[in-house]
Symmetry: C2
């Protein structure tokens, strides 16, 4: 009358393993979960039984009892270009190393709060990564608080107290770009902004302004146009900037996609790159190498951001909730073919 479950069709349970190893199921559980108080000999006996039977823990039962899923989530907004996809790769890599799995979900349209709540309640994740702009949506964050689900925000708009986030130093990176252009002799440098309200976009702009100020150049608003991180805004921006009375000799776009738009417009307008115009981007993704000429840009370690965010969630699960220091990862200026010394 033992509940054995050892009917051949069904996968073996912890009870089968216990019988096989001659211990109680609780001891098997201890072995599975790497708990301490188990005699080495017993542990070996159980482990060999596990191997013999091909036992695999049932995630549902475990989740039900222990309320931990060993699954993380990645949450982002639809149509945000390559960025989330690259974060995903990094996150997956780290999840594999740590034995976790990853549920991906996108938010979309109105009612984000409700979507987030549904996501959390239906998946019971151990933690979630978010990219902008979702990670800046207060009502989404509120849903996380309600479900008490830890999260790490990647490059968020504003730090929130007692919350960990991860990113790069956008200000310094943008400054490096402009310093590079200044070093090439450029003085009239145009800027195509990123999304309004996007922290990183704002810092890149500040870096641009600051670098120019440092060499005593007044900010010239006719050299600054708005944008939204996409290709089309780069095309429009270039069109506007190149039509001014004293057009810039270099353009810095807030990301690679917009910079690609600048190149495209320049090509079609007969403006030679980098002969007539130097162009810089930001991100250093695949696109920056696939356009011609290849783009001088800042390489962001997006993959690494994903990896590190996962690592934070798993390893510092408790601390994540109350850590105040952001994790800042290194970036790198990639000098390529789209920038050249100013023609005299």
């Amino acid at each position: 009358m033992k509940t054995s479950g050892k009917k051949p069709g069904n996968p073996p349970t912890i009870i089968d393993v216990a019988n096989e190893a001659g211990v109680s199921m609780k001891t098997v559980s201890r072995v599975i979960n790497n708990e301490v108080r188990v005699k080495e000999k017993t542990r070996e006996r159980v482990q060999s039984a596990i191997k013999r039977l091909g036992y695999q823990r049932n995630v549902f039962a475990r989740g039900l009892r222990a309320d931990r899923s060993l699954v993380l989530g990645l949450l982002y907004e639809t149509s945000q270009g390559d960025y989330p996809a690259d974060v995903l790769q990094g996150a997956l890599s780290e999840c594999r190393k740590k034995g976790y799995h990853l549920v991906v979900e996108t938010l979309h349209g109105p009612n984000k709060r409700q979507q987030a709540a549904r996501f959390l309640s239906q998946t019971r994740l151990d933690g979630v990564l978010m990219t902008p702009p979702v990670c800046d949506n207060a009502s989404v964050l509120k849903a996380f608080k309600e479900f008490d689900t830890p999260y790490v925000r990647i490059s968020p708009q504003k730090p929130r107290k007692n919350e960990c986030y991860i990113g790069i130093d956008d200000f310094a990176a943008a400054k490096e770009v402009i310093d590079h252009l200044i070093g090439l002799g450029h003085r009239r440098i145009g800027f195509i902004k990123g999304l309004d309200g996007h922290r990183a976009a704002g810092e890149r702009f500040s870096g641009y302004c600051s670098a120019l100020e440092d060499i005593g150049i007044q900010r010239d608003d006719s050299l600054i146009v708005s944008g939204n991180f996409n290709f089309e805004s780069g095309v429009e921006g270039a069109k506007t900037l190149l039509a001014t009375e004293y057009p810039p000799t270099a353009i810095f776009a807030a990301n690679d996609a917009a910079a690609a738009g600048v190149l495209s417009y320049a090509h079609s307008a007969g403006v030679s790159i980098p002969g007539d115009l130097s162009v810089c981007g930001f991100d250093g993704g695949a696109i920056s190498r696939m356009i011609w000429p290849s783009l001088t840009t800042i390489h962001q370690p997006i993959f690494l951001l994903g990896e590190s965010a996962v690592s934070l969630l798993i390893d510092n699960n408790e601390e994540v909730k109350k850590c105040n220091e952001p994790v800042i990862l290194p970036h790198k200026l990639i000098i390529s073919e789209s920038t050249a010394p100013l023609r005299s």
Copy 2:
């Protein structure tokens, strides 16, 4: 002495709902699962109780009892470019509509069989989507059989009997590309191949050959170079093709990334596009619009492939296992700026 669980801190259970609505928990279960035999009035009463309490079904308990997770998986190999990312978007979109969630996992390095088995056993998915080349890995597929997990392969190498797959008509699409070039007067058309052993790549090549044959042009092996779907292979391919004694007047690359490589090489070699050389790609993703000149290409409905694959898994779960007809989605020739009539 009722087990109520209605301590304020804990989320409400099916029992709380049952008490609130004055029915048994089984009836609540029936309502949740949209079963038939429930009086309309009762159903409403239960639903309002659910809403009042903010009840959300516990996925672990459900999974444990019913052995269904309402979660699908997407499995692919690392570093396969944009393709899997686009499939992901489509899959996510459909999952949201159907109330499912999606676990993403990549396979990587040796031991794919074991990685797949671990994935399946640790997640108990209701179904999985796969893209090439994972979906052509026999030992991975064997793991799926073992776990009896339904799957849909997207554009796989070979059809397998009693298995559903989904894709586009690569042969016809490639033929359309070549017909377009022929219509522009081109006769010497180069081809840069995709990955060896990739069904779609092979069919694109066959389409190329067939279209030329149709107008009586002998296949010329000096116009055909190997490739592997990436940017670099496009650069190399173009270099080789343009260095021949009678270089082609048009080049068809097996995907957009390779075509981008062709453009890049051509630009740097001073070959004007499309003046001196027409170039076509295949995929129609974001990159085809971001390079200059924008690429004449075949638009593959990759997003739709993801959506449809999910829909197949959810709606035809039983039939997926024994359906023999592939699902073929429509493609579209996008004529853009990288092709022009042959200069006389």
